[in-house]
C-alpha cells in the first residue's frame, strides 16, 4: 500500500535527515518505528502524507506515485494521520464537530457524519467528551479525540506519531485493544517499545537516515532469523 524507495530528505539550510531510506507497508502489516529524538521519524511520516516532499527517491501510495498536491489529496482520503502534538489536529469548538470534520470532507451527509461521531467516540470510550470544548480538554483527552478524528474517516491505513506520549497506563492499554480490534494496517512511531512490540508485527529502527530491522517481533521475543547480538539496540 505504501512504498518508499531510496528517500532522501533535508530541511532547507540544514543537514540531511533521511538518506536512502526504504519502507514497505503492505495491506495487513502493522509497522512500528523507533528512533532517537531528532532522528527524523516525524519527518518520515510527513513525507508519507505528502506534507513534505522528499528531495530524492520515490513515494508510492496505493499503487500510484503522487506527484501533485491533488494526487496526495486523493491518497489522504485513505490514510488516517494523527500528529505528534494533538493541538495541531483540533480546531473546532466542540469535540463532536471536530470528529465530524473529516467525514464531512469525504462527502458524508450531516446525518452520516453524526452517526460516525457517536460510533467513534463510543469505540474509544470517550462519548462523555462529545459536547466538550476541544481547547479545554486535558492533554490525554486531546490525544484520544485527535485519534477519534482520524478513525472517523475509516482509513485503510492508520499512521500515528507517538500515540502513547502523555497517556496513562490504562489508556495506553485501551488504545492497544482498539488498535488490535479495528486496525489491520498501520505505521506507528513511538518511544514506548513494549507498546510498540504489542501493537506491531515488525519494529524498525530509524538511525542515520535509514530504517533497519531491530529483530523485535510481536510477542516481544527476538525473531528467529537472527540471534541478538550485543550491539542490538533495545
Amino acid at each position: 500500500m505504501i512504498r518508499l524507495e531510496d528517500i532522501g530528505f533535508a530541511y532547507p539550510n540544514s543537514t540531511r535527515v533521511l538518506e536512502g531510506l526504504d519502507l514497505l507497508c503492505d495491506e495487513g502489516t502493522r509497522i512500528g518505528i523507533v528512533g532517537a529524538n531528532g532522528s527524523g521519524k516525524t519527518t518520515l511520516l510527513h513525507i508519507i502524507m505528502g506534507l513534505l516532499r522528499p528531495t530524492s527517491g520515490t513515494v508510492t501510495l496505493f499503487g500510484r506515485q503522487p506527484s501533485s498536491e491533488a494526487d496526495f489529496r486523493e491518497a489522504r482520503r485513505r490514510m488516517g494521520f494523527v500528529f505528534q502534538d494533538a493541538d495541531d489536529q483540533l480546531f473546532c469548538p466542540t469535540v463532536a464537530e471536530d470528529v465530524a470534520f473529516g467525514p464531512r470532507n469525504l462527502g458524508r451527509s450531516a446525518k452520516q457524519a453524526h452517526e460516525m461521531v457517536s460510533r467513534t467516540l463510543d469505540m474509544l470510550g470517550i462519548e462523555h467528551l462529545e459536547k466538550r470544548v476541544t481547547y479545554q480538554l486535558s492533554g490525554g483527552e486531546k490525544r484520544l479525540v485527535a485519534l477519534a478524528t482520524a478513525l472517523a474517516m475509516e482509513p485503510e491505513v492508520l499512521i500515528l506519531d507517538e500515540p502513547t506520549a502523555g497517556l496513562s497506563e490504562e489508556t495506553s492499554e485501551q488504545l492497544l485493544g482498539i488498535l488490535s480490534r479495528h486496525i489491520s494496517t498501520s505505521i506507528i512511531v513511538s518511544h514506548d517499545r513494549s507498546f510498540l512490540q504489542r501493537a506491531s508485527d515488525e519494529v524498525l529502527l530509524l538511525e542515520k537516515g535509514v530504517l533497519t530491522e531491530t529483530g523485535m517481533s510481536e510477542m516481544g521475543t527476538w525473531s528467529r532469523s537472527r540471534p541478538p547480538s550485543p550491539g542490538d539496540p533495545l
Partner: protein
C-alpha cells in the same frame, strides 16, 4: 519565518551595523515624508530603488511586498484626484479632476514607495533580534522596544499556529469550496487561531516572567562599528543632507 524572509544574505546591507540602518532609515523616512518638492521626492524614490536593488533580495517576494503598499496607494488614487480643490483639468460626469489632486496623489505614491523600499532594504535585511538589540543600544525607550518585540513575537505565533492548523485540516482532506461547511470550518479556524495565539503568547510571557524577566532586555552581543560602517554613515548623512538642502533651497519645484 515569514517576517524575516529577507534577513538572510550577504549584501552590504546585510553586513551593515543595524544601528546605522535604523538611524539612516529613520532620518530618510522623516525627510521624505515631510518634503513637498517633486524633485526631492523623485530623488528619494530613485535612491530607495537603487538601495533596494543592491540588497540582492528575491525579486518576486519584494514585488509582492511592494504590491501590498501600492494596493493602499491605488485606493487613494480613487478619491484624491477628484476631491482635492484646485485648477480643474478634466470633467468626468459630475467628477472634477484637478491638477492639484493629481500632483498630491503622485507625491504620496512616490513617498510611500520610497519609504517602503528603503524599509525593506534596511530593516528587512536584519533579524528582529538584531534590530531589538540595536534599538536598545540607541537608547530607544524600553517600552517602545518591548512593544516592537512583542508585536513581532505575537505575529509569528499567530502565523505559526495558522500553518499548523491548516496542515491539520489538510491531512483530513479539507478542500475549500464555496459551501457552508467550508465557511464554517474557516470561521472555526479563525476563532481557534485567536484563542490559541492569545493563550500561547500568554504562556510565553509567563515563561519569561518565571525566568526573571521584568521588562529589561539584556544584550549578549555588542555591535562593533567597522570602517565600512563609518563610510556608510557618512554616505547616508550626505544623501539626507542633500534632500534637506533640496527641500529648503529655491529654484526647481
Amino acid at each position: 519565518m515569514h517576517l524575516e524572509e529577507f534577513a538572510e544574505g550577504h549584501s552590504i546591507w546585510h553586513r551593515m551595523d543595524p544601528r546605522i540602518k535604523i538611524l539612516g532609515l529613520f532620518s530618510f523616512a522623516v525627510v521624505a515624508a515631510l518634503s513637498n518638492r517633486i524633485s526631492v521626492q523623485v530623488f528619494a524614490l530613485l535612491t530607495a530603488i537603487v538601495v533596494l536593488m543592491s540588497a540582492g533580495l528575491n525579486e518576486r517576494k519584494v514585488a509582492s511586498r511592494m504590491a501590498v503598499v501600492n494596493g493602499f496607494v491605488l485606493f487613494l488614487w480613487l478619491f484624491l484626484p477628484f476631491t482635492t480643490g484646485g485648477e480643474p483639468i478634466a470633467q468626468l460626469g459630475w467628477l472634477v479632476l484637478t491638477r492639484e489632486g493629481i500632483v498630491l496623489s503622485l507625491s504620496i505614491t512616490m513617498k510611500a514607495n520610497a519609504i517602503a523600499a528603503a524599509t525593506i532594504a534596511l530593516l528587512g535585511t536584519s533579524t528582529v533580534f538584531d534590530l531589538v538589540h540595536a534599538m536598545i543600544h540607541l537608547r530607544i525607550p524600553n517600552l517602545l522596544v518591548q512593544l516592537f518585540f512583542f508585536c513581532y513575537r505575537y505575529i509569528s505565533v499567530i502565523h505559526l499556529e495558522y500553518t499548523r492548523l491548516r496542515t491539520g485540516m489538510k491531512v483530513r482532506c479539507f478542500t475549500p469550496r464555496s459551501n457552508i461547511h467550508t465557511y464554517r470550518s474557516l470561521a472555526y479556524l479563525m476563532g481557534m487561531l485567536f484563542v490559541r495565539s492569545y493563550d500561547r503568547s500568554e504562556r510565553i510571557y509567563q515563561a519569561m516572567v518565571l525566568r526573571g524577566f521584568s521588562g529589561t532586555f539584556w544584550t549578549l552581543d555588542h555591535f562593533h562599528m567597522h570602517r565600512r560602517d563609518w563610510i556608510a554613515l557618512v554616505c547616508m548623512s550626505l544623501v539626507i543632507l542633500l534632500m534637506v538642502v533640496g527641500q529648503l533651497a529655491g529654484g526647481i519645484p
